[in-house]
Assembly symmetry: C2
Homo-oligomer: 515 residues x 2
């Protein structure tokens, strides 16, 4: 490749120390021409979204995450002030926690933070606090599941709860994992002789179950969560900003990074719009049908959760059965990855030699560390190797026909992290327009939830019907007019958790269960 070609495909935003290199994606310029109509529609869709139109038709909602870092964009004063008011409220709360004006009943200051949430209400804060960890003022822990062992493990890590502040995050307050985590935390505080409400704050929709619960139990406070913010794009709402403020992360820089990136990616020139460049590169590589997985490899330990964050943002947004015209399209892009150069010792063997079902996205952080480095060889530092491995891997992949995108930033800071998040949010919005889908809903997760509810109902029935007489799953299922396999799973679960006794047979048919 000539330096000419490279330069032509290198897009730079010096105000964000950002560059995007798509030179190894082999996109012919004719491709841009064929996409022009859809690109124009994508820009129109973006304007409609930023203007406050209902762009999530299935849920009849506005989509406002771009307003969060630029409240002037918001479609009306009410929304504008809901953003600025919440920001003022949470800054005030964090300041009072830091000074000790809001303090635990046992005295002293709150020193630790337990965040209870799942999906968008956990992954964003997890990614950003891990990326920016050195600045953290409060050690942060997460309940992000309904696993009792996992809850016990996190409680053991925290140790003393008396100086631990709890944030419970759920828009509806009805997410069972979060509700369960909250009840488990409450029980742990009670067992420790502590008043849970005096340690707890909520982030939730106004009037939600959680809002009411927090009020009637005298919690420290409740922050609003707006209807027009989706979970996977909630990191710049109260969901992300409350924990980040508590951790002492510079919110202004974080929001400014995002809004600066938004300004760049509002430009309609394809060549200078990094988000459109990404969306088009994804489209070209996967034929607009997600035919290639996206492997995200940041060469920086602190960005190790970024691929997991993008996995949610991209797959939950783009993985859709129907397009906006109601046609079955089975869209999506699979995303995975961890960090380089570590991943080179894990699966880069397959990337270079194996099944060609992916393209790579490298994230480069140019600076090795802020301070001085020792030499690991004459004139060579550990960080030079990191850079060398990124460049070497990128080249080796391309030589075997595997394409890649390289995104570079100077350092991991609140500003650059804000910019990276905004870039991918915008690229997802654009890509969704290019392939004509709604990226702002998640209809596919309902079926699993419903099936889970039915399972829990059956579990209760099975527990009730168990007697001292040992019976097979089929006999019990017949009595309950239920599916024997489902009943069998309920029974093995009850047996493993001390609620049933199992007399093992040589197959599920012959296993017998009693109370």
């Amino acid at each position: 490749m000539s330096f000419e070609t490279f330069s032509a495909h290198l897009l730079r935003y010096p105000d964000l120390t950002f560059s995007l290199d798509t030179s190894l994606m082999d996109i012919p310029s004719t491709f841009y021409e064929t996409m022009m109509e859809r690109v124009t529609k994508a820009y129109t869709d973006l304007l409609a979204l930023e203007d406050g139109n209902v762009v999530n038709p299935d849920e009849e909602r506005m989509v406002g995450h771009y307003w969060l870092r630029n409240p002037e964009l918001a479609p009306n004063d009410e929304i504008r002030s809901s953003i600025t008011d919440a920001l003022a409220l949470l800054r005030d709360f964090a300041a009072k926690i830091h000074t000790g004006e809001i303090s635990p009943p046992a005295g002293g200051k709150f020193e630790k933070l337990l965040l209870i949430g799942i999906g968008g209400s956990a992954l964003g804060p997890q990614f950003v606090s891990d990326a920016l960890r050195p600045a953290a003022q409060m050690a942060t822990y997460f309940f992000d599941n309904t696993d009792p062992d996992g809850i016990d493990r996190t409680l053991a890590e925290i140790g003393d709860l008396s100086k631990t502040l709890v944030l419970v995050i759920s828009k509806s307050g009805g997410t069972p994992e979060t509700r369960n985590g909250m009840l488990e935390a409450e029980a742990a505080y009670t067992a420790a002789g502590l008043e849970f409400g005096q340690h707890a704050a909520a982030i939730t929709g106004h009037g939600s179950k959680l809002d009411l619960y927090s009020e009637s139990n005298d919690w420290l406070t409740s922050f609003p969560m707006e209807d027009w913010v989706g979970g996977r794009t909630s990191i710049m709402s109260t969901v992300g900003l409350v924990p980040l403020a508590l951790q002492g992360i510079d919110l202004d820089a974080f929001l400014a990074g995002a809004s600066t990136m938004d300004a760049h990616t509002r430009e309609t020139n394809i060549r200078t719009n990094a988000a459109m460049q990404l969306a088009l590169a994804w489209h070209h590589e996967g034929n607009g049908r997600g035919e290639k997985d996206m492997v995200v490899i940041p060469y920086k330990d602190s960005l190790a959760l970024f691929s997991k964050y993008l996995q949610q943002l991209i797959m939950e947004s783009l993985g859709k059965r129907l397009d906006l015209d109601g046609k079955e399209v089975f869209q999506g892009i699979a995303v995975y990855g961890n960090k380089g150069s570590t991943d080179q010792h894990a699966y880069v063997q397959q990337l270079r030699d194996g099944v060609h079902n992916f393209f790579a996205t490298f994230i480069e952080v140019r600076q090795g560390r802020a301070g001085e480095s020792i030499e690991v060889e004459p004139g060579v530092m550990a960080g030079d190797y990191l850079q060398g491995f990124l460049r070497g891997t990128r080249k080796a992949l391309y030589e075997s026909g595997r394409r890649s995108i390289t995104i570079s930033i100077e350092e991991v800071t609140p500003r650059t992290i804000g910019a990276l998040i905004a870039l991918f949010e915008r690229a997802v919005s654009f890509y969704a327009s290019l392939v004509n889908i709604n990226p702002y809903h998640q209809p596919g997760v309902e079926a699993g939830k419903k099936a889970a509810t039915l399972f829990l109902e059956l579990l209760a029935d099975v527990k009730d019907i168990l007697s001292e007489k040992a019976q097979t799953a089929e006999a019990l299922a017949s009595a309950l007019r239920a599916d024997p396999e489902e009943v069998y799973h309920c029974l093995t679960h009850l047996a493993a958790n001390g609620k049933a006794s199992l007399e093992s047979g040589s197959s599920p048919h012959e296993d017998r269960f009693r109370s």
Copy 2:
């Protein structure tokens, strides 16, 4: 699906509390018939491997990880005693560390452990220690990269080094990331006024660079790493067992779990061999060409790293360009996933509704927690929800035509973790035989390493040639007879790390650099 069909596809090993359910993989029994010849070959290959034949032809090596948990299998007394001797040696070392017979020069006992390694020399210990963490005696930290920021961050987490034991793990001693990590650690100990060698032990090949370095610097000890153990299957060699013994994990149970699984998966009856069942299911689903990604979702927080572990084991083993006859085949299976039910709030939307390019592997742990649970609803515990979500998601996916495998164990223990690792190692061996590739080498990672070395050489040249006169990348490249793009990347890297000054132009052509 009838209970009959389910039962016929449920394989149980009660001595491991293990079951494997392939009923939702829709494998017709005729498929087994068509595969019979290859299955027979796979069993023959396994016998040859366990007998000590050279089954890694490219590297002319025996492959002995199955001997590690069953030394009687080893092909000769020398190998047999190398296994048992190393085990005795490392148990003795761990006991002396725990009693304080081997202690830090500053007094007291070693309380923390810093493990320096990458790939197989880090991921195995990371997964197993995370899974079994509650039993850990020593808090464990990792340098698993050559990222200076990451090293600084881990050092900050450790804090006081004076009671921290370091394990440096590298077969050849030549892995740059590990060598760099070691030198950085050594510098940190020296800066803290501590004698590094008095805190360090090596795990390395006999006579390797690292072996010699540890000897000449009076390290505490050096454990042998055998030629016939590959990195990604080294968890039951000194690589895994030294850290696990230091953490107080029950090695006997861990090894017995693996050897018990090995015994089951040595049986030639396809229907009762869980590893062959897995290999055949993978083959059927991906047409023997890896056409479907494997999404691994354990519903248990402590198993969150299992998919990353399997990602390495499977992708590095199976991702191969050539088959054993030298034909280009571009094999492999892409693996990703984190944990349930958390992942349901991230990408299960795409799995159910989106691009159909995967099959799922659910890992169920039947017991919620060892102790009592509170009720989150009348009669319902948090762990019931975990089980409900697994069953619900599995069902919802199948209803939309997405297949899945479900593996169940009773609890996460050293024995069940040993068994799970052994199961997948064996499944990988079998699958490789079915598709006729060598799963024990990794030829594809060399190209990236070579390109990295060239980059580092160029970086040195570019640094040398920089002068006070600002010059473009092209001018400098011309003087060095090097590629201008490569030179440009060297220059931006030097500029970001204080080794060059950049006068920014509007494009890479116009950027000028000086010393």
